[in-house]
């Protein structure tokens, strides 16, 4: 039992895609660019003329399920297929999913995709049925990252590295105004 969350030292990202490949290999995600549990969004572009380029707006943002504590997908599912597991991770009863896609429409973070092999909607679950199930304490994306910018751990453990880093550094969540209470944090 834990209350898992993730914090991103997002400014360190060089958009190398290691996390994306590691996730797909670890979790057996179908090939194809449209199938992914996580991705890096290039937010903002370089502005102006080449010789006076403004680079300030370009950000590489780590995107995936935000593990909302008030999850719109969970509420939207007509079949009650979505639940929160004992580690605080938003999960899916696969047998109850009949692809109404209500969760996908409800998700403000665009975190889900259709897993065409298993005929369900899928998203990041912190490697819950692979690495965590084997007793490992890291996610595939976190451990492979050259920048080590992903802090993964138990938010309820005050001694965990993620708890410490959230105590020490300013951070924000995405689309806070929606009140979804994400458990993914972006460190300033």
């Amino acid at each position: 039992m834990a209350n898992y969350g993730m914090a991103f030292d997002y400014k360190l990202c060089i958009n190398c895609h290691a996390c994306e490949v590691a996730c797909k290999e670890e979790n057996g995600i179908d090939l194809g660019a449209k199938n992914h549990r996580l991705w890096i969004a290039e937010d903002g572009e370089t502005e102006g003329d080449f010789w006076n380029l403004d680079r300030e707006k370009v950000k590489f943002m780590q995107m995936q399920c935000q593990e909302c504590q008030d999850a719109p997908c969970l509420k939207a599912c007509p079949n009650g297929a979505i639940y929160v597991d004992e580690n605080g991770i938003v999960r899916l009863h696969k047998e109850k999913c009949d692809l109404t896609l209500a969760c996908m429409k409800a998700c403000p973070y665009d975190a889900r995709y259709i897993d065409e092999s298993n005929h369900v909607t899928d998203k990041c679950i912190f490697c819950a049925d692979t690495r965590l199930a084997r007793g490992e304490t890291t996610t595939a994306c976190q451990i492979t990252c050259p920048a080590k910018l992903r802090y993964f751990g138990d938010l309820d453990d005050t001694e965990s590295e993620i708890s410490k880093v959230l105590r020490e550094r300013k951070h924000f969540t995405l689309k806070t105004e929606l009140g979804t209470k994400p458990k993914l944090f972006y460190l300033e």
């Binding site: 039992m1 834990a2 209350n3 969350g5 360190l12 060089i14 958009n15 190398c16 895609h17 290691a18 994306e20 490949v21 290999e25 670890e26 090939l31 194809g32 660019a33 991705w39 890096i40 969004a41 290039e42 937010d43 370089t46 102006g48 003329d49 080449f50 010789w51 380029l53 680079r55 370009v58 943002m61 504590q69 580690n87 605080g88 665009d110 965590l132 199930a133 084997r134 007793g135 304490t137 595939a140 976190q142 451990i143 492979t144 050259p146 920048a147 080590k148 802090y151 138990d154 309820d156 959230l166 105590r167 300013k170 924000f172 969540t173 995405l174 689309k175 806070t176 105004e177 209470k181």
Partner: protein, 768 residues
């Protein structure tokens, strides 16, 4: 519009809400995580998806690799695996792999082969080689051989150089970084290693360390707090992340460097104590720089970097505690490349950044003992000719373009009739592909050892399928100088199909070749004839070292064990077998944060070592050959273009290692093909829109490629990534995707190291 050249994935809807939010509610109680028993085994291996050789653990279940993970024991790779490293699984399980020995039945290049047994392949090669070497009266150098892969290169040379007796070995150095290595060696007496982690002020010219990863440099840049200054005619990711980005005209970095030296000398910013103690001919350097008046405003006129900025950066650099001008690690750009690298070394030396923290360090690498072999002497074997007309050049790897040119223009002193090519895609890796094809078409025998049916493999008469890096053990390797370690590539799974390790391939070939080629020598070589008369055939053969399989009597596993245990002991060997790595502080790594480690304690790193050396400001040998003994700017270095022309520069995507990974089905998701970057304003005036097909023409060829207009490239410059435009139809994922840069890059080379200059081609464009 969101664009083809950035991620094709979903974009964040709306902007990021930058509101600070407190930690989430503590609604769950603390309890230990559920554990389950591991079923898989983890094997320590070394990656081979690029030249870095990072360490990893491969998870194996039922003899199948299910995941590759980083290895936190290796100082060099800093507990990470890049996207290519992660996608290594798709390299071993690539369905297009070379699976069986093949003999050509069609024309060269058309891809028609028949499957044969290993013995049939060896027999075919033997028959051809005996005829060829007999025809050349035992001049073994008629068999050229090349290798583009770091591991096993020396073993490969031992077979074809030492045993078979050819002088003509070629490697990637002359289409890669030999000017940098040479400039460092000749200026400070060693090629050194750059301590990126220890530098507090880092200038990088063109080397795109965030899209062309080098470990540990790239990782250290992310984790260091240093100030990063990047010069580049293209705003790369490295430039995007820099504290200071200085856009400049291509090929003018040398002007910037000369101006830095000018400012350092005239403002007396340099490290006087260091210069006094170590510099040789400093007065000549000083006089030369001042006489030529390499002021900041002069450099502005060449580079397009404002003079004030040049002065500011120079002052900051020389004012920093541990400044480093990164010497680069990529292809050679222009005729002045050697001088550019040398100017960079001199800048570091002027700052005293040599043999100290944050500079070019000499360090103390582990030196592994060589396994001795008995080398036969071939009197008829002639020397190499590709360094004729080159001032220095690499005696080891030679000069590809000069070699090819001499063959094509019939200026080689003897014919090259055969070529053995191992993991070196020469049909794509050097300028002017048409010429490489012509060179290979001239050969009586072309043999390719590779894992993939590359464009070069399609030119082979015989294809020998090598296994991938995950299917073999390789000889132990010593890495790095500041935090030296040993690393071992262990075999993760058995070779698939009928592929074999290089050693097994050469062992089989050696068995077939040794005696028949000995007989050819016996026919022509008088010394050998005397030896046979004196000792008898068997003894002359054995004692003369004519047995090609000598090195492979024992398996790699046995050889490694013997070598490592005798030099370092059993504990080191065990560490290499289980952890893949050994260094004196293994197991005592200190976690700094979030699975990022410190390896050697700081006081134990080899920042400074006892060493007598000089900084050579003046190279008289260059003067003797009519080149500049001190880096000098010449008017023909100026960035000037004919009307309506563009300068082509090249580089690569983070997800590809030259042409070696473009068929990888996982990496293909990120960059399936390349696009040509063209300045957005220029594109607008030419009515070129994103995705338009453009014909790019140089003096030698044309290619068609889709356009990507962007403000991230200089107006008169075009860029597209290397590695695409594969012509082999056997590479089903890569074939027909994008354009090949070397199709249109003109084959020019500089004369100090014989390196191909990749950034000297002017291009005209036409919308299709």
């Amino acid at each position: 519009m969101k664009i083809i050249e950035t991620s094709r994935r979903k974009f964040l809807q709306g902007s990021i809400a930058l509101c600070v939010y407190a930690s989430s509610s503590l609604s769950y109680t603390l309890s230990p995580t559920k554990t389950s028993k591991k079923e898989a085994k983890d094997v320590a291996y070394l990656c081979n998806m690029c030249r870095n050789k990072c360490a990893g653990f491969a998870r194996v279940q039922n003899n199948t690799i299910t995941k590759l993970n980083p290895n936190h024991y290796f100082p060099k790779s800093r507990n990470m695996l890049c996207p290519k490293g992660n996608a290594g699984i798709q390299a071993i399980y690539d369905r297009d792999r070379l699976k069986y020995p093949l003999i050509r039945i069609g024309n060269r290049g058309d891809g028609r082969y028949k499957r044969v047994t290993w013995d049939e392949a060896y027999e075919y090669i033997k028959d051809k080689l005996v005829t060829i070497i007999d025809k050349e009266k035992d001049n073994r150098s008629t068999v050229a051989y090349c290798n583009g892969e770091g591991f096993n290169k020396d073993e490969y040379i031992k077979f074809f150089g030492s045993k078979l007796g050819s002088s003509n070995f070629l490697d990637e150095g002359s289409i890669c970084l030999n000017t940098k290595l040479g400039a460092t060696q000749l200026t400070i007496g060693d090629i050194g290693e750059m301590d990126v982690a220890g530098s507090d002020y880092l200038i990088i010219s063109g080397a795109n360390r965030y899209e062309s990863l080098i470990t540990p440099d790239s990782v250290d840049m992310i984790h260091s707090k240093q100030k990063l200054v990047v010069l580049d005619p293209r705003c790369t990711v490295t430039a995007l992340k820099a504290d200071e980005y200085l856009p400049l005209n291509p090929g003018t970095d040398l002007a910037f460097c000369l101006s830095m030296i000018y400012i350092a000398i005239t403002e007396k910013l340099y490290n006087k104590k260091y210069v006094q103690e170590y510099f040789k001919d400093f007065d000549k350097l000083q006089k030369h720089i001042i006489q030529n008046n390499y002021t900041a405003s002069w450099a502005e006129s060449k580079t397009h970097i404002p003079a004030k900025k040049i002065e500011e950066v120079t002052r900051e650099f020389f004012g920093a505690k541990n400044p480093l001008y990164y010497l680069g690690r990529r292809s050679v750009w222009a005729q002045n490349d050697f001088q550019l690298r040398r100017a960079m070394v001199l800048i570091n030396a002027l700052a005293g950044s040599v043999n100290r923290e944050g500079g070019i360090i000499f360090g103390k690498p582990f030196v592994l003992k060589e396994e001795e072999i008995n080398e036969p002497l071939y009197n008829a074997s002639e020397g190499r000719f590709d360094l004729d007309g080159i001032v220095y050049g690499s005696q080891k790897g030679g000069s590809w373009l000069n070699f090819r040119e001499k063959i094509l223009t019939k200026k080689a002193p003897y014919p090259i009739r055969a070529m053995f090519i191992r993991k070196h895609n020469i049909m794509q890796n050097m300028p002017n592909i048409t010429k490489t094809k012509e060179m290979l078409n001239n050969m009586d025998l072309v043999v390719v050892l590779d894992t993939m049916p590359s464009d070069t493999a399609m030119m082979a008469d015989v294809i020998l399928p090598e296994c991938t890096y995950l299917e073999r053990e390789d000889m132990v390797v010593s890495f790095n100088r500041l935090e030296p370690s040993l690393a071992l590539r262990n075999k993760v799974v058995e070779p698939l199909y009928e592929s074999r390790s290089m050693q097994d391939i050469l062992k089989g070939l050696g068995k077939k070749l040794s005696k028949p080629l000995f007989e050819v020598s016996a026919k022509y070589d008088e010394d050998l004839q005397d030896s046979i008369e004196e000792l008898g055939v068997r003894k002359a053969f054995n004692e003369g070292g004519y047995d090609f399989t000598e090195l492979y009597k024992n398996s790699i596993e046995e050889r490694n064990k013997k070598l490592i245990v005798s030099q370092f002991g059993m504990d080191v060997y065990n560490s290499l077998k289980t952890k893949g790595v050994w260094h004196p502080y293994i197991g005592k790594e200190k976690e700094l944060y979030n699975d990022y480690y410190e390896y050697y304690p700081k006081e134990k790193r080899f920042y400074t070592v006892e060493r007598k050396y000089k900084v050579n400001c003046y190279l008289s040998k260059l003067e003797k050959f009519g080149f500049d003994p001190i880096p000098t700017w010449h008017s023909h270095y100026d960035f000037k273009l004919p009307e309506n022309s563009f300068r082509l520069i090249t580089g690569r995507y983070i997800t590809s290692t030259q042409t070696a990974t473009t068929n990888n089905i996982m990496l293909k998701e990120f960059k399936e093909k390349n696009y040509v970057w063209i300045n957005d304003k220029v594109a607008a005036t030419l009515d070129i829109k994103e995705g338009d097909n453009l014909v790019l023409s140089s003096s030698i060829e044309s290619v068609v490629i889709q356009a990507y207009p962007t403000n991230k490239i200089a107006p008169q410059v075009l860029w597209f990534a290397h590695g695409f435009g594969t012509s082999s139809q056997e590479l089903t994922n890569a074939y027909g995707k994008g354009a090949s840069d070397n199709m249109i890059i003109e084959d020019k080379f500089e004369k100090i190291y014989g390196c191909a200059t990749m950034h000297e081609t002017n291009i005209t464009i036409r919308k299709l």
